[in-house]
Amino acid sequence: MLEGTLVMIAKSIIIFVVFLQLVPIVLLAERKVMGRFQSRIGPNRVGFRGMMQPLADVGKLLSKEAFTPASAIPWMMAIAPVISVTTAVATMAVIPFGPYDAWGGGFGLYGIDVSIGILYFFAFGSLAFYGLMLGGWSSGSKYSFLGAMRAAAQLISYEVALGLSLLGVVMTAGSMSLVDIVEQQSDMWYVVPQFVGFCIFMVAGFAESARAPFDLPEGDAEIVGGYNTEFGGMRFGSFFMAEYMEVLVISGIAATCFLGGWRGPGPEALAPLWMLIKILAGAFFFIWIRSSLPRLRYDQLMSFGWKILLPLATLNVLVTAIVLVVT
């Protein structure tokens, strides 16, 4: 019993540390890779080829003032970034990095194997928007308020499609546990039979993580900085970090549900490596999309979510159900 508890503590620390270290890597990768996509070099002054740039960024953010406007609600402003970060970190607990007993010792390479893994992900994905909404609303600024309203509307529009896109996978695998879903993909990755679901999941995932081209809650060109306009210093840094964590979480869920999770060539002990590669490839895709596509107009975002994505996701679920019953 004690041993089990110790293993749990060790696992949670390792997952948290690894996950936290991925954020600066993705941050740097975003700036460097996006530079390449835009025919520039990207940061190259701090450290060897700009490797220390995330450290310099964090140092800058830490030394800045966490300003609270007079019209704001201070305690809510303080709690909003915490919600964003916590929900993103919490989701990482269910993403499996390897099967049970892959490294021996009788433990699985995941935080917990809950039987409702996907529901857990949805629950925290929905909670993450409270960070954005409370942050924007409590700032007491019109731009933040607009950003918060956009975040709320975007959540409602895309959460449904996101759920329906994963329903096909859940039906095929016959389980909501992410570990079981990966185990079921031994013959074929679900990206092949569930290709439409994969596309819908990625599109809705972009909206869920409020990344370009669905970064309307932030919308720096039209509403200054959206929900994080009034946040300074590490409070802004937390939102920023949460955004990148959200990217990693979406990539992790996409890799788990559609791209075969930890599966890859080589011995089973290499499972976490394959999972990491898949997550980072997903993050690369996020960056690639961001440097390619312009931000959607607000009514386009809404009509796309309700008129195209939702019917498509419903159709996908129906077809999957029919195919499953027939075969």
């Binding site: 835009q38 025919s39 070099i41 596309c199 390619s292």
Partner: protein, 177 residues
């Protein structure tokens, strides 16, 4: 001759109607095309000049900071203090105070020389009229363009500064490059 404008008018080339199943397909295709374009840029490599380390060479007729010249054989200044440059200057940034040459103090080749020759580079518009106005080719536009400084008074260049060789050497483009 009466033209039937209704027939002559060309129909407007409109894009496909938005919405529908076709739109989904088009959005998907266009997205892939956009991704291909940006990836092509990444493969192609960057087009960056690392400025402080690398400088873009300037063209031979580039108008940078002014230079005053001396005769190479005698070492006398070419400027005779005629103030034509100051008169030609649209920005009124040149100040010349002329002085007679004496046998003991022969500064220039002519009868007079410039005792004070100042160019206020914070006002200069680098039009090159001073160069055109000068009858002795005493003032020319150089190649230096890195002129930023911490105070405005540092941007008033005196005769000594303009006569001296410029400390920075801006790379010059070869003819026809």
């Amino acid at each position: 001759m009466a033209t039937n404008w209704r027939d002559a008018a060309k129909p407007i080339d409109r894009g496909p109607e938005p919405g529908g199943v076709g739109a989904v397909y088009r959005v998907f295709g266009e997205t892939l095309r956009g991704l291909k374009t940006t990836f092509g840029r990444a493969v192609e490599g960057h087009h960056v000049i690392q400025y402080p380390e690398e400088k873009t060479p300037v063209y031979p007729r580039f108008r940078g900071r002014h230079k005053l010249h001396r005769f190479e054989d005698t070492g006398l200044e070419k400027c005779v203090g005629c103030s034509l440059c100051a008169a030609a200057c649209p920005a009124k940034c040149i100040r010349v105070v002329a002085e007679e040459n004496t046998p003991e103090n022969q500064v220039s080749a002519g009868e007079r020389h410039a005792a004070v020759y100042e160019i206020n580079l914070s006002r200069c518009i680098f039009c090159g009229y001073c160069e055109v106005a000068c009858p002795f080719d005493a003032i020319t536009m150089g190649n230096d363009y890195e002129l930023a400084d911490y105070s405005r008074s540092d941007l008033i260049f005196t005769k000594e500064m303009l006569l001296a060789d410029s400390p920075e050497h801006t790379p010059l483009r070869r003819e026809g490059e």
